[in-house]
């Protein structure tokens, strides 16, 4: 029973990843530096959104984060509201998915 369940999960995961690949193929990659005005973690802890205020234009951009390392940094508050972030993200429709999300730092 357990085994079947995991097979189904793996199948679902495979389907999901293949869809994800197709989806990213049509997305455009953008870059920005901005200050975080809001972080919201999803209830399941597997994703989060961060609202960034673009340091150049002042515009607010909402970015979805799914990579574990960055999510972990939200959870233990290594990255918090007010921090300045350099990000690369993919825009696909209304969703901006983070590809890189780092605190800015001098030397």
């Amino acid at each position: 029973m357990r085994k079947i369940f995991s097979i189904v999960m793996i199948m679902a995961l495979m389907l999901f990843t293949s869809l994800a690949v197709v989806k990213t193929a049509s997305a455009e990659e953008l870059k920005m530096t901005g200050t975080i005005t809001k972080i919201e973690l999803a209830a399941d802890g597997k994703s989060a959104t961060a609202v960034l205020k673009d340091s150049k234009t002042g515009a607010s951009v909402t970015i979805t984060i799914t990579d574990d390392l960055t999510l972990d940094k939200f959870k233990d508050k290594r990255i918090v509201e007010g921090d300045e972030i350099r990000t690369k993200y993919e825009k696909s429709g209304d969703v901006n998915t983070s590809k890189m999300f780092k605190k800015t730092a001098g030397c």
């Binding site: 995991s6 530096t33 940094k73 508050k77 001098g106």
Partner: protein, 455 residues
């Protein structure tokens, strides 16, 4: 397919047991009485704080006897070294607030933010106050709230580093995880992945896929951390380590053809085929950021994006103002071929004596004026007689992490084909030897057989 699933399930089971490490025996006490800093720990672990004050992690320095042109009786390290990956040190870049930039904004900067003290008790401080200032939890707690660790001004206007000393953090104690170490190591050199493209994830380091973490390889005893011989990581706690020893033998392969190579070629050369991070910086030219602050202009690369440079290394270091890197040769009987991450940095040299000058980053961060940074550093160090001229320095970093899966390790043709990664001539082989070393005769039959097996 079934085989694969079984592997996944077994993998998860291992992971689960690892994650369910038993509670720290001190937990009840700490929950009852709260956490008052190291003295709480010392009730049961006497002497740990004093012991820690004697280590590189507290002193950012040690005596060094494998590097040219330094006095082996003096201690050096991040505390006082000057190079062009970060053109300063803990002294000239002591944690401080930078002057306001053109937008009126200011911020804190300083190398000693990566020190587990509170800045009042700073790099290398000693005595009972220093003992109580140690942030034990930054390495030992799995519930550290990092928003509580930051530079702030205290009521007297002094800049201090705050810590998370909550009961919650102190109640969740254990061996340091990758994350605990990466608090400081990830951003060494001026930001994530800058110095070496250092990443400890499953994707970037094969050992992590086996559940191996920093302190499994770096077997720390009494807070002395074993380290290797990266030519630009000088300070050490007196214990050296490498791939061989407790973990691997010098002949770990079932295939004798590989074992034959380990006398002359370091394990890292074949098993860490790529390096990464910034490969050049210019400290004479600072770039304005959109927030109004400036940063040294930097050419960056991701983890594993750069081909290493290969050189003979006998574990001693050439150290001049223009070059800090490996010494060694094919013929000295001690050297092996190692991979290095090479870096070139531009900064100011003192025309009067040829030495590299250091820079206080506070002025250039605020307004881009790198010469004001040199002037401030010279003042702090009491250097009066100097004339800054820009110039370049080349430095070699060891490439000792980011071990790739074994199917990505360098195989015969990666080196012995004409377009192989090693420049045999530069490594000291004569033309007759090069001809032999690049002759397919060396590997043809073997690789053909492998190819047939895999088809």
């Amino acid at each position: 397919m079934t085989g694969k699933i079984a592997v996944i399930i077994v993998g998860c089971a291992l992971f689960a047991t690892a994650a369910q490490a038993k509670d720290h025996p001190g937990k009840e006490e700490i929950l009852k009485d709260g956490y008052q800093g190291p003295k709480t720990c010392e009730a049961c672990h006497p002497g740990k704080a004093k012991e820690f004050l004697g280590t590189v992690h507290w002193k950012h320095a040690s005596k060094i006897d494998h590097v040219d042109n330094i006095n082996p009786d003096e201690e050096h390290g991040m505390k006082d070294r000057i190079y062009t990956m970060c053109n300063g040190n803990d002294i000239v870049n002591n944690l401080k607030e930078v002057p306001p930039n053109a937008l009126g904004k200011t911020k804190f900067t300083g190398c000693n933010t990566c020190h587990p003290g509170d800045h009042t008790s700073d790099v290398g401080s000693t005595g009972p106050q220093a003992e109580q200032a140690i942030d034990c939890l930054i390495c030992h707690s799995s519930k550290y709230d990092f928003s509580k660790r930051k530079p702030v001004k205290d009521k007297d206007g002094k800049v201090v580093m705050t810590q998370d000393r909550s009961t919650e953090a102190a109640a969740n104690i254990g061996r340091p995880t990758i994350k605990n170490c990466m608090v400081c190591h990830e951003a060494a050199g001026g930001g994530a992945m800058i110095k070496r493209g250092f990443s400890m994830t499953k994707e970037a380091e094969v050992h992590v896929t086996k559940g191996i973490i920093c302190v499994d390889c770096h077997k720390v005893k009494n807070h002395k951390f074993p380290t290797g011989r990266d030519p630009n990581n000088w300070a050490h706690d007196g214990i050296y380590m490498t791939c061989t020893g407790e973990c691997h033998s010098a002949t770990p392969h079932t295939d004798a053809d590989y074992n034959r190579h380990t006398a002359k070629i370091a394990c890292q050369t074949c098993h860490i085929p790529k390096t990464g991070g910034a490969f050049s910086k210019d400290f004479t030219k600072w770039e304005k950021q959109s927030n109004g602050f400036y940063e040294p202009s930097t050419l960056k690369r991701e983890v594993n994006e750069t081909a290493p440079v290969y050189a003979w290394y006998n574990l001693t270091v050439k150290n001049t103002p223009q070059f800090i890197g490996p010494k060694g040769s094919r013929s000295d009987g001690k050297s092996k071929i190692y991979p290095f991450k090479i870096f070139q940095g531009k900064a100011y040299f003192n025309k009067k004596n040829g030495q590299l000058l250091s820079m206080d980053f506070a002025p250039p961060i605020a307004n881009g004026d790198s010469l004001a940074g040199v002037a401030s550093a010279a003042k702090i160090l009491g250097i009066k007689d100097y004339e800054p001229v820009p110039g370049w320095q080349t430095i070699y970093f060891g490439s000792n992490h980011q071990v790739s899966p074994k199917n990505k390790a360098l195989s015969c043709a990666n080196c012995h084909a004409l377009n192989g990664v090693l420049n045999f001539k530069e490594l000291g082989y004569n033309s007759k030897e090069v001809e032999k070393l690049t002759n397919p005769e060396l590997y043809f039959e073997k690789l053909l057989k492998l190819q047939q097996e895999n088809e």
